[in-house]
Amino acid sequence: MARIKKEIPTQVDPLLEIEEQLSHQLNPVQPDPEFVRRIHSKLTNPPSVLLETRADFTGIIPVLGVIASGIIFLWIINRIRVWLF
């Protein structure tokens, strides 16, 4: 029985075309050498840890004291006026 040869399509496989396109178009990019150096330096020479000290509130305390005293003084005066009148 004679076998009929099927014609092989000459069209290029579209997936191969895409693979070729990807190979040509996706090129590696070089990171900025300065960036590479900077991060290398940070990784190999990490800065010593600085512990933050608590904020100094000592200057505010006298001011708050004066304001609190004033409020208490006004409150007392007000109470005395209520009792008298």
Binding site: I18, Q21, L22, P28, P31, H40, L43, T44
Partner: protein
């Protein structure tokens, strides 16, 4: 010292040798930067995230366990997670398409043939950008890093067969995306 093997550099880095970690950094910074650059499409974000990959790596190198996969697979996992977080945060804010960042040179500065190549590249990048994250990853690891399916499987934590199948489906999806944009 620069010609020591990854395994030796790793074991020294695990013991706190920062210079040994510096060697690993020099070896892999370019690959990690490329991966992040193409995943984010933004050079500045790529630098920021690349730096964070290596800071995270140096902070956790003590707990690194060699499970027979390349060290790069571990770095890529960190990069993958950071990029995923970046995309999630970004989706809550304004989105800027990839093509606005990559090849940002003015078109008037580019010769005609180069312009055609640039436009073709922009289309391709946009088509890649429209793929789901796992498919973008397969394409970038295969074509930027020239990884085999087995290596990609190690990076992504899937089987080699799953990667082969995913890669084929990705090419089909990419073809469809390119046909739509044509």
């Amino acid at each position: 010292m620069n010609d020591i093997s990854d395994d030796l550099a790793l074991s020294m880095a695990k013991n706190g040798d920062k210079d040994a970690f510096g060697i690993l950094y020099e070896r892999y910074v370019g690959r990690i930067y490329n991966y992040i650059y193409y995943r984010t499409g933004n050079p500045k974000e790529a630098e920021d995230l690349t730096a964070r990959v290596f800071y995270r790596a140096i902070n956790h190198i003590g707990s690194y366990k060699n499970l027979g996969v390349p060290f790069s697979a571990w770095l890529y996992r960190i990069a993958h997670n950071l990029v995923a977080n970046w995309h999630r945060d970004r989706s809550r804010r304004k989105e800027v398409p990839l093509e606005e960042h990559i090849e940002l040179r003015s078109k008037s500065d580019i010769p005609e043939t180069a312009l055609e190549i640039s436009q073709e590249k922009e289309k391709l990048l946009l088509a890649i950008r429209n793929l789901p994250a796992d498919r973008q990853e397969v394409i970038l690891l295969k074509f930027l890093d020239r990884m085999s399916n087995a290596e990609i499987a190690a990076v992504t934590g899937r089987s080699e067969g799953a990667i082969k199948s995913l890669y084929h489906r990705t090419l089909l999806a990419l073809r469809d995306n390119l046909e739509i944009s044509a």
